[in-house]
Symmetry: C2
Subunit: 212 residues, 2 copies
Amino acid sequence: MLADPYDAILLDLDGVLYRWPEPIEGAAEAVRALRDASKRIAFVTNNASRTPAQVAERLASVGVDAKPEEIVTSALATATLLAERGVGSAFVVGEEGLLEALGDAGIRVVDASADEVDVVVVGFDRGADYTKLKDASVLVERGVSLVASNADASFPAPGGESWPGAGALLAAIETTTGARGEVVGKPEPPLFERALASAGGGRPLVVGDRLD
Amino acid sequence: MLADPYDAILLDLDGVLYRWPEPIEGAAEAVRALRDASKRIAFVTNNASRTPAQVAERLASVGVDAKPEEIVTSALATATLLAERGVGSAFVVGEEGLLEALGDAGIRVVDASADEVDVVVVGFDRGADYTKLKDASVLVERGVSLVASNADASFPAPGGESWPGAGALLAAIETTTGARGEVVGKPEPPLFERALASAGGGRPLVVGDRLD
């Protein structure tokens, strides 16, 4: 099989395993074949709003068998990266997946008014409002570093609409402050590095549907 | 005086007539001297959130005598431009000054769910939230044109903080959609053209504190 020379397979979700909410033909069988060939697998997603358990449920609903511990979201990669740097507290523009990943990594999620805020983290957030964008911007102006779980410009919403993605919220903060955020998700290296560490192995194959 | 060769004086506000909330020394006297010399005057501001009456009050509080009809905001210039184009309805990300100017120009401010939306107008809006940015983006994706009263990246808030300006909200919509908004305010021509039309005269002098 194509994957023969590789021991770790990093699988993109959207466009590879499903085109939500439709399965992609042959995808479930391909994952089973990889398992039968004893490949190490990681499921990789820029989406920072869902937890690994929620992503595993979503994959199950399109027939793909995945364990939560095989799923590496940009939220998890962000939390791991920040914990490795000794970050203790974060002001977050983000949803449950990002909040939970940061909490699990031992990072306190704090208000903008907290005495100490080590980092501003931006992800996809349908609860974002002017006050949140303003608080994030003011912290960044004060010198707090800006990290984005991903910079996807848009979020493919049900019905074919494109909604503002993490990258659109990041753009508002970057425009206000003139600062540039550090991006963890695809196509930047940190998410892939984290996925490879999670899967194990030394010769990874990344399966995606587009370069970003 | 410096203004001798000019018959219309277009005066910027922030940085020229005040550095809010402080007056700028000599500004009030300079405006009186221009009036004594029978110059036509327009007070020009990118700020789209205040009505001309509110701007006149603000000027009075720093000692500058201004009539509401001498004040040309980017909101007024936007409304005039759109009315001249025959625009009938607008979905608006904006505050009172923009809503009132559009209404006064005969443009209906509608919800995103309206049967017909001719244009998406973006200004400074402390009430902006994810849903508003999403609705604006979805309309623009459908082909509705995108116009910004101004593209100021940040808004100088009390206490020296910079808050997200109209340009930051515009950046979120532009990032989501890939579209580029048409900007009415400084440094683009439409606001200056509208101010000159309002003041009258043919040899304008623009007094500002920076090129944008």
